[in-house]
């Protein structure tokens, strides 16, 4: 009986060693995360035709505003480049001076809703030294994510 038990335990030990296996694979995981964010867009709410002004005079009016909305990933930093206002090359000779608050400061971050705005405000025009005809002024707003 004692001899039979010894054989039994020896068999179990041998079987266990066989389960550990020889040259089994060892593994480690490397993680590669990619965050996909909203693309940036810039849209304005439309060109503005200001009131007519008589040559040689100054005219004031209720603020006319063009709003540029920059949309993208909420809270992300952005670089915004504002160019202008630039007088159109085909403007009449002379100088027309737009009055008002002008262009707002360039935003540096998108807000919690993913938006930032640039505004261009005009509350009047000084045509003291202007020629007659139609003047066009343009403002360009360019945006990109910072540090990408």
């Amino acid at each position: 009986m004692r001899y039979a038990l010894a054989i039994f335990f020896a068999a179990i030990l041998a079987f266990s060693s066989a389960l550990a296996g020889h040259n089994d694979h060892v593994t480690a995981d490397a993680q590669f995360d990619v965050k996909v964010i909203e693309p940036l867009t810039v849209v304005d709410d439309g060109d503005i035709v200001l009131d007519d002004v008589i040559q040689g005079q100054i005219r004031n009016w209720t603020a006319e505003i063009i709003t540029f909305t920059i949309s993208g990933e909420p809270t992300y930093p952005i670089d915004v480049t504002i160019t202008g206002p630039t007088a159109n090359g085909n403007n009449p000779s002379g100088a027309l001076l737009l009055l008002g608050a002008g262009v707002s400061a360039a935003p540096t971050h998108l807000d919690a809703s993913g938006d930032a705005t640039v505004t261009w405000t005009c509350t009047g025009a000084n045509a003291t030294n202007a020629g007659t005809g139609t003047y066009v002024f343009s403002l360009n707003v360019e945006a990109k994510y910072t540090g990408m």
Binding site: D47, D51, Q57, W120, G133, Y135, F137, A143
Partner: protein
């Protein structure tokens, strides 16, 4: 050979598709807005007279003198005021008239046209009634408008004082809706 051509076409199509997706990374996006302002020519008004106004008739107290046989349609006494400004713009004309002074009364009619014609009879020029105190008219393609004050008659009523009487008609003009 055919297989290679098919594969080449697939590769080119895929490349074109990727190009169409604007795959450049973090390319700036931009938008431009315009403000447009039109500067118009200032209005001016230049008075002139037809015939010799120093040669007005002498009117006796209690009498009425009519110019022409049909008053404002053939009167030879007229003031003409030329307005100049921006081509084809609408202007508002208002008048402050003076018709009675020292019991001497005058009568006149306003007519106006942007395009006077040579030989055109007075009756062909539209009458301006100045309802609500003003008339809105359009300048011509050359930016002109001619306002006529056509005098019909002068009447020195009984108890009019003698002497030279001066009647002033003040014409004001401004751009409409500016």
């Amino acid at each position: 050979m055919f297989k290679k051509i098919i594969i080449l076409m697939i590769i080119l199509s895929a490349w074109s598709f990727l190009q169409a997706q604007d795959i450049d990374f973090n390319t700036p996006v931009s938008e431009s807005g315009n403000m447009t302002c039109t500067i118009v020519t200032p209005l001016s008004a230049t008075p002139s007279m037809e015939f010799d106004f120093l040669n007005w008739p002498t009117v006796a107290v209690g009498s009425k003198y009519e110019f022409g046989d049909s008053e404002n349609e053939d009167s030879d006494k007229r003031s003409i005021i030329l307005f100049t400004g921006e081509n084809e713009r609408e202007v508002e004309i208002t008048v402050e008239t003076e018709t009675m002074k020292d019991n001497v009364e005058i009568s006149f009619t306003f007519r106006g046209t942007a395009n006077p014609q040579i030989g055109q009879p007075l009756s062909a020029i539209p009458v301006l009634y100045f309802n609500n105190g003003k008339e809105i008219v359009s300048l011509s393609t050359e930016g002109k408008y001619y306002l006529h004050i056509i005098y019909n008659w002068v009447w020195a009523h009984e108890n009019a004082t003698t002497g030279v009487k001066t009647f002033v008609q003040r014409i004001k003009v401004q751009y409409h809706n500016i």
